[in-house]
C-alpha cells in the first residue's frame, strides 16, 4: 500500500493553472522521484503535501489520513518532513540548536518544568541533545555541532537541513532538489546518504532535475510536465519513454525541419 496518496489534485493561482489532475502514489521504504523540466509544478506538489498551500481540487492522504484542512505544523507531526530547494536553515543558531528545533514536538515538558529545570526537564533535553548529535553524525557534521550554521559550506548546509528534517522523526522525507548546485563528488556522497536513509526504513520522495542522479538512485519515478503527470514507472521505463524524451529534449521531427 502506498504511504502518500495524491489523488487528482489541481492547483491554480488566479488564472494560472499550475497542476492538472495530478495523481501520485508514493510507497513507503523506497526512493520515489518526481522529475520534470523547470516550472513543471514540482515544488507546488510539495507545498500542497506539506500544507503550505491548499489544493484547488483533489485530495491528499498520508497513511490513510486525509490531510485536507490540517495545519502545516500538524502535518509535520504526522510524519512528513521536508527540505527546501533554496536552503532554509536557521543561520544564527548552532548546528545542534538547528537540529534540536526539529525535535520541538518530541520534547514534551511544561513551562514550569523548564522554569525550574526539574530532573524530568533535564532528562528530556539530554535525550533530545543526544539524538540531535546522533543525526549530525549520520551526515558527518557532529564535529561542528557548536558552531553557527552560517559558517557551513553550501553542501554542508544541505546536509544540516537533512539532519534537521530527520529530527522530526518523519516516516516520509520530502527532498526538494537535494543536489542542486553540488559538484559530482558531493552528489555521490549525498546519494549514499539518501540510500542509507531509505535502508533505515524512511520513505523518500524527492524532486530533481539531474537525470543521471535520479536514474541511479531511485526505485520509482514520475514525470511532471506543464502540470500533468506524463509517465510513471521504474527508472528504465522512464528513460525509454517517448513522452519523457520529448518533454526533456523536444520532438525529433522538429529537429529535421532545421536545415
Amino acid at each position: 500500500m502506498s504511504m502518500l496518496s495524491i489523488r487528482g489534485i489541481g492547483k491554480h493561482f488566479g488564472g494560472l493553472q499550475v497542476l492538472h489532475d495530478v495523481s501520485i502514489e508514493v510507497p513507503g521504504g523506497a526512493i520515489f522521484a518526481l522529475i520534470g523540466p523547470n516550472g513543471a509544478g514540482k515544488t507546488t506538489v510539495f507545498n500542497l503535501v506539506t500544507g503550505l498551500l491548499r489544493p484547488s481540487a483533489g485530495a491528499i492522504s498520508f497513511q490513510g489520513q486525509e490531510l485536507a484542512g490540517i495545519a502545516p505544523h500538524k502535518i509535520t507531526r504526522l510524519g512528513i518532513a521536508r527540505t527546501f530547494q533554496n536552503i532554509r536553515i536557521f543561520p544564527d543558531m548552532t548546528l545542534l540548536q538547528n537540529v534540536m528545533v526539529g525535535r520541538h514536538h518530541l520534547t514534551n515538558y511544561s513551562g514550569l518544568a523548564a522554569l525550574f529545570a526539574t530532573p524530568s526537564f533535564r532528562e528530556v533535553e539530554r535525550r533530545s541533545r543526544e539524538r540531535a548529535l546522533e543525526l549530525l553524525s549520520w551526515v558527518k557534521l557532529d564535529h561542528k555541532a557548536e558552531s553557527t550554521a552560517d559558517n557551513l559550506s553550501y553542501g554542508e548546509q544541505r546536509k544540516l537541513e537533512f539532519a534537521r528534517a530527520l529530527a522530526t522523526e518523519p516516516k516520509l522525507l520530502l527532498l526538494d532538489e537535494p543536489v542542486a548546485g553540488m559538484n559530482p563528488s558531493e552528489k555521490a556522497v549525498l546519494m549514499e546518504e539518501i540510500r542509507n536513509i531509505r535502508d533505515r526504513g524512511y520513505g523518500v520522495f524527492l524532486i530533481e532535475h539531474d537525470m543521471r542522479f535520479v536514474m541511479n538512485l531511485c526505485d520509482r519515478v514520475a514525470v511532471l510536465n506543464f502540470g500533468r503527470i506524463i509517465a510513471e514507472g521504474a527508472p528504465d521505463e522512464i528513460r525509454n519513454s517517448p513522452e519523457v524524451i520529448e518533454a526533456y529534449l523536444g520532438r525529433g521531427d522538429e529537429a529535421e525541419v532545421l536545415p
Binding site: 500538524k74 543558531m93 520541538h104 533535553e125
Partner: protein
C-alpha cells in the same frame, strides 16, 4: 553613611527608573526574540500602570495582588489584539501595534475613571528598591531559562525563518501570541512598579515616544543576549544625566552618541558573538607573545 543617604536622596528616582526601563527593555527583547517588531509595549506598560494604580486607589488591594493584576490586565489585552494583528510581519506589525498604542492613549485621555489628561494623582509610593531588584532578577532568570527550552528555540527559529520553523512542527501562530503576551506581562509589571514609585501618572508617559524609547534601548544594547537590553536601558537612562554639564547641547550630544553606536555597532553594544571573537583574538595575541 551620611554620604550614602545624600546620594540616595538625590539619585533614588534615577535608579528606580533604570530598573523599570531594564524591565521594559527585557519585555521587548522577549517579543523581538520571536521576530515581532512591536511598538505596543509602551501601551501595555500604561495599561499595567493604570490598572495597578486604580486598584490601589479605589479598592485598596494589597500590593502583591496589585502587581499581579498590573501584569495580567495587559496580557489579557495582548491575547485579544494579538490574534488578528500577529498575522502581519515586519513594519506592518509595527504600524498596527503603533495604532493600538495610540488608541490606548486616546482612550485613557478621554475616560473619566483614568482622570483624563490630568492623570491619576496621589498614588501611594509602595514600590521599594528591593521590589524592583527582585522582579528584575526573577524576570532575568525566567528569560534565561526560557532561552534554553523548546519555547526559546522555537522563538528563535521563527525569527530566523518562519516557513522552516513551521515545517519543523512548530505552531508559529501560537508561539507568536505567547511571545507577545509574555512581553505584555513584563511591560505591565514595569508599569505597575512605575505607578507606585512616581506618585503621579498621565497618558503622556505611555505614548509613541516611549514606545520608540523602549525599542531604542533594546536595539542599542543588542538583542543577542539578555545583557544587551539591560545595558541599553541603563545607558539610555543615565546618559542624559551624565551629559548634564553640556547644558543646552545635552540632547544633541545624546542623539549624536546614539547615531554613532547604531552606525558603528549595528548589532548593539553587547553582541555576544562579537565579544567571543574579540576574546579569542585577545587570547591568541597574548599566547603569541612569550
Amino acid at each position: 553613611m551620611e554620604a550614602f543617604a545624600d546620594f540616595w536622596a538625590t539619585y533614588s528616582t534615577l535608579i528606580f527608573t533604570v530598573g523599570i526601563h531594564a524591565l521594559l527593555a527585557l519585555s521587548l527583547w522577549l517579543t523581538l526574540s520571536c521576530g515581532l517588531l512591536s511598538l505596543a509595549n509602551a501601551a501595555f506598560m500604561g495599561i499595567g500602570a493604570y490598572t495597578a494604580a486604580l486598584l490601589t486607589l479605589h479598592l485598596h488591594w494589597p500590593f502583591p495582588m496589585v502587581l499581579a493584576a498590573g501584569a495580567l490586565a495587559p496580557a489579557a489585552v495582548a491575547l485579544v489584539i494579538g490574534a488578528p494583528t500577529l498575522r502581519l510581519s515586519g513594519v506592518y506589525l509595527a504600524m498596527a501595534t503603533l495604532a493600538f498604542g495610540e488608541v490606548t492613549r486616546i482612550l485613557v485621555l478621554n475616560l473619566d475613571i483614568t482622570g483624563g489628561p490630568e492623570g491619576l494623582n496621589g498614588i501611594p509610593l509602595l514600590t521599594t528598591w528591593w521590589h524592583i531588584v527582585l522582579i528584575l532578577a526573577a524576570a532575568g532568570y525566567a528569560l534565561a531559562r526560557l532561552r534554553r527550552s523548546r519555547m526559546g528555540r522555537a522563538f528563535e527559529a521563527i525569527r530566523e525563518d518562519e516557513v522552516a520553523a513551521r515545517m519543523m512542527g512548530i505552531d508559529v501562530e501560537g508561539h507568536k501570541l505567547a511571545a507577545f503576551t509574555l512581553g505584555a506581562v513584563l511591560a505591565g509589571l514595569a508599569g505597575a512598579l512605575n505607578a507606585h514609585s512616581t506618585f503621579f501618572i498621565s497618558p503622556r508617559e505611555y505614548g509613541f515616544e516611549n514606545a520608540v524609547d523602549i525599542l531604542t534601548m533594546t536595539i542599542l544594547g543588542g538583542i543577542s543576549s539578555l545583557i544587551g537590553p539591560v545595558l541599553g536601558a541603563t545607558i539610555l537612562t543615565l546618559l542624559p544625566e551624565l551629559l548634564r554639564f553640556l547644558h543646552a547641547y545635552r540632547l544633541a550630544v545624546n542623539g549624536l552618541i546614539l547615531i554613532g553606536v547604531v552606525l558603528f555597532l549595528p548589532t548593539g553594544l553587547w553582541d555576544s558573538r562579537r565579544l567571543r571573537h574579540l576574546l579569542r583574538a585577545w587570547r591568541a595575541r597574548r599566547e603569541g607573545q612569550p
